[in-house]
């Protein structure tokens, strides 16, 4: 019998409700799969006891009838989410030993809906990275391989553990967070679906902050329908997050009906990059054809400030991070450096932060400190915020002209080898986010959906960008691509 861990959320839900399987059985199969997955390094704090308790409770709730869709569904939680009494380190040594006394709103929403926590998932340190190579827990390995090679590939980042865990069927779905592409890029690298909702859809409360004006949580799942189901459970208005929105949360799954006739899909010319592999170009054209075939109208559009999105991001995100991460000072939680005789509080701060933060985080915090420092604030930070306004206006103008959604590639390449970028300068790594980062700057919803394989057999994703609060419409469009692309490939198990 095939392990129940291989089920999708929607299939598991239907079979749980039919009494065909129990959450306890489903959970055991996931725990067994996790046991055998050390080579992937996706799960970093396992919580089998919590999982078994929650599964038992879910089974009772399902038996009593009227259980929500996520009831009994085993999930992995990105380490960035604070989970009560369970290690939550944001992939950093500076939060070594930290066990929150509280639960993030998003994870609480999932537990309230009856979901089961299998454990915490690896990620780039403080979500800063695009390859999951900056984690204090070590690299995550992508379950996919190039043809018959055994080169270890990146699952992408920062939600690399979430992506690898879902792609390898260690869990049915996982939470991710996305500040510049951290859900969509790893989803594309591992052949799964990931959606970053509109800024304000998911509460940020209890999620370790990276760049507060860009951070959003979202689901990472095996297919589009599952993303709809899980996203709905994650969203809520939350008084504890002042930017949380109280727009009503629709039944996203119900909005997947395959009918996209008459929708106007924009194809932005600025996303056609020099040096982009021909396969990505082809995939994009195929995706366009699929939507056209389904009755959508294809319109060439221009988003003229696209090329400034990455540089603006690399001012704004480090600036916000330098402020947010000031709290890691060795006083209230996590690591504190040992002091030599005569050393005082400044040495404590400086040594603690030098020991606790990895190189990438240190570099970004210092860049952020620099762009906010006296004399440079206007030249860098305020300039970047003005450019951000222009990037947002680009989108507003095409939406005002009647465009319903925008289709782009999700990433400029397929997954690359771990360590392959080690000698590149930091800017080369930033380019991974070239197609995704605009969406965060503008606060829009974006979804990555697998649409094909490259010649080495690695998955490639397409991205759809929607108007604010139109996640339902976006999921429906993504479903059309998913169906027509017929993407069913799975990585062959080697781990």
């Amino acid at each position: 019998m095939v392990g129940l861990n291989k089920l999708s959320i929607s299939d598991a839900r239907d079979r749980l409700r039919a009494g065909d399987i129990t959450s306890a059985e489903l959970t055991e199969d996931c725990l067994a799969a996790i046991e055998g997955s050390d080579a992937l390094n996706a799960f970093v704090h396992n919580t089998p006891d919590i999982a078994r308790d929650q599964a038992r409770a879910a089974d009772a709730r399902i038996a009593a009838g009227d259980a929500p869709a996520m009831c009994g569904i085993p999930l992995g939680i990105k380490d960035l989410f604070c989970t009560k009494g369970v290690a939550s380190q944001a992939g950093s040594a500076i939060l070594e030993g930290f066990k929150p006394e509280y639960e993030s709103t998003v994870s609480q929403n999932l537990w309230d809906a009856g979901a089961v926590m299998l454990g915490k998932l690896n990620m780039d340190e403080f979500a800063m990275g695009s390859s999951n190579e900056t984690s204090t827990y070590g690299d995550v390995v992508n379950p996919w391989r190039r043809g018959n090679e055994d080169t270890a590939l990146t699952p992408g980042g920062s939600s690399g553990g979430s992506a690898a865990a879902v792609a390898a069927d260690l869990c049915l779905g996982a939470t991710g967070t996305d500040t510049g592409g951290s859900i969509r890029q790893p989803a594309a690298f591992t052949g799964i679906t990931g959606i970053k909702p509109t800024y304000g859809r998911c509460s940020r409360w209890g999620i370790v902050a990276f760049a507060s004006s860009l951070d959003q949580a979202g689901p990472m799942t095996k297919n589009v329908r599952d993303s709809a189901i899980m996203l709905e459970a994650m969203c809520s208005y939350d008084e504890k997050d002042s930017t949380s929105s109280d727009v009503p949360v629709p039944d996203f799954e119900d909005m997947i009906n395959g009918d996209v006739r008459g929708q106007k899909i924009g194809i932005p010319k600025e996303y056609r990059m020099d040096g982009m592999p021909g396969e990505i170009e082809t995939l994009w054209a195929e995706g366009t054809a699929m939507l056209k075939d389904a009755g959508a109208e294809i319109v060439d559009i221009s988003l003229p400030h696209t090329k400034y999105a990455l540089p603006a991001y690399y001012v704004i995100a480090p600036a916000e991070a330098s402020s947010n991460l000031a709290r890691y000072d060795g006083v209230r939680y996590g690591h504190r450096a040992k002091l030599a005789k005569g050393e005082g509080i400044n040495e404590m701060y400086e040594k603690t932060r030098a020991e606790g933060f990895g190189d990438e985080v240190q570099r970004r915090l210092m860049v952020g400190t620099y762009v906010l420092s006296a004399g440079f604030y206007d030249a860098y930070y305020n300039r970047a915020r003005r450019v951000r306004s222009l990037i947002k206006q680009d989108f507003e103008q095409v939406f005002a002209a009647g465009i319903d959604a925008i289709l782009t590639p999700a990433t400029p390449s397929a997954a690359f080898g771990l360590g392959e970028m080690a000698d590149a300068d930091p800017v080369q790594m930033f380019l991974n986010d070239v197609f995704t980062v605009t969406v965060n700057l503008a606060g829009l919803p974006g979804i990555s959906v697998p649409a094909g394989l490259d010649k080495m057999g690695l998955p490639l994703g397409l991205q759809l960008i929607g108007r604010p609060w139109q996640e339902g419409e976006l999921l429906n469009l993504a479903h059309v691509i998913e169906e027509r692309a017929g993407f069913v490939a799975k990585p062959e198990q080697w781990w």
Binding site: Y308, L339, E350, S373, R385, R388
Partner: protein
């Protein structure tokens, strides 16, 4: 704009991150690569453009100015590297 070793030292101190002397030149070089990338923003005409302050078009909600939480001293201190007598403990700050 080019960052020298002296500026790198100053920025590290402002960020409260200890950087050993021999690492400063390399750090300055990395900063310059990143800042060179950011310089592209200088091409953009930003006259008459307001800096973006709100991500989604919404008004921040107001709430009553009342206490909504508190009385959790033990929980707040539970993760502290050093807590004594109900306080966070740190090295001596005042001489």
């Amino acid at each position: 704009m080019s960052i020298d070793v002296e500026t790198a030292r100053k920025v590290a101190h402002l960020a409260r991150i200890r950087v050993e002397e021999d690492r400063l030149p390399g750090l300055a070089e990395e900063f310059n690569t990143i800042l060179g990338f950011i310089e592209e923003l200088n091409e953009v005409d930003i006259e008459r453009v307001e800096p973006m302050v709100s991500v989604t078009p919404m008004r921040l909600k107001r709430r009553k100015d009342v206490v909504t939480d508190g009385d959790q001293q033990a929980k707040i201190l539970s993760n502290a590297p050093d807590a004594r007598e109900g306080f966070f403990a740190v090295p001596k700050v005042v001489e």
